[in-house]
Amino acid sequence: MRTRLLAIAAAAAAAALAGSAAMAQGWADLPDWSGDWTVVKAKAADPAPPYKPEWAAKARANAAALKANRSADPFSTCGLPAGAPRMLSLPGVHEWVVRPGEVWHAVEDGNTVQRIYTDGRKHPEGDDLFATYTGDNVGHWEGRVLVIDTVGLRPDTWLDGAGAPHSDQTHVTTRVRKVGAELQADIEIDDPMAFNHPWKLVRRYSRLPAGSFVHDFACRIIRSAADAKAAE
């Protein structure tokens, strides 16, 4: 009986392997990024975004309005999702759900989910490529490095909490890999409208202790309370 069960299990495993082999990669080729990750505070400040003059002026205006309390970070007021690529920098827990054919980057803050298709598909074209918060993400594996190509980003999100604007031509290339015990994302934000040259950022993530979990909360609670007060 035991032999038969093992044989069935082996056959099933072989079938599963054969199925995934048809894709670009199988489970055995994928790195172990399981667990809960959180952004490591960087020692050095980020380089300034390489804005063209008119976009530098927009960035200054955003920052000034923010400082004068004349506007609010659209993300911090629970209004709009952070979107990509800012989601890579959010506090709280990050998960990298790695499977053959697709990777999900799930961020606790804002319940943001970035779907990265690694099944060989291309970005959609024409009307099928419309701007969203997390954009259209296709990826491929270079060994154990996930290379993510992101386009189709809404221009009304900010690149950071200081009000850095971007256009709808933003193109982000992100390379995620394990460096020692940490995950590292090398982010290259290209925006031919706004930037003189790509803005390069690095984000590192450390793994939280085993048994950690993702808190489930709704930013909208605060907003609803605010709405209630505003209605008074």
């Binding site: 495993a13 599963a16 399981s34 609010a72 969203t132 918060y133 489930d216 605010a226 505003a230």
Partner: protein, 269 residues
Amino acid sequence: MRIPASRVWALAAVGSLALGAAAGAAPLRPAESLPDWTGVWQNKGPPTDTDLFDGGTSQPRGCAALNQPCRSYPPYKPDWEAKYEKNLGMARAATLPDPLTRCMPRGTPGNMRSPDTIEFVPRPERTWIFIENGSQARRIYTDGRGHRTGKDAFDNWTGDSVGHWEGDTLVVETVGVKGDMMIDRTGAILSSKAKVSERIHRRDENTMEDDFTIEDPVALTGPWKVTRLYRKVQGPIYDYACAENPRNKIDASGRTLTLDTQGRVIDAH
């Protein structure tokens, strides 16, 4: 020796069971053996989402849930039946303050009745259920952990879900869901003591099945059994934010005002 439920799937692999028990760690199901749940799924049911979470057990089958005489579930205790009747009254009058309409999360199990698409994403240590509407993410821990205790055990929207595999069926137990949340657009509610058990499996090529047993010693007289089906659909999965619908006050010129976290207008001219 008590065998944690998480190891039930592995009974055929006797060697790894013994090893896992000796190490004190739950052996994870090998990734290669996980069932194929890939793709994009969508609730089967009326697109209007106006029927009871448990449309399938209305009597007679298929009758409109808001049509009082045909309703026989949920099996509420009298005081909760009275609460539900109040909500049903509002639903019939189209005045139900459904949290989903105000961009609040639906919570478990109501999130499994969400409109739009759902993904079932198994990995050895966790299974995620990503729900487009919201967006919401359910995390079902299959690494052998129990429910949270002490300060970690607080009620939230999706609850605290742990699971184990029985063959290709994911058996899930969820507790710690906020009480008094409406789980559908008829206004059905459960208490914070509800325990939601689910058996999730792929019924056939084009169908995922989730069999619920909802127990609630506070609100219900007995178990409430619900089966929900999901049909395979073509993508894409849309990425949007419910809260992008402007709900803030507007000024005389029609401009939407920005509020701070205390509800004060911060960009009035």
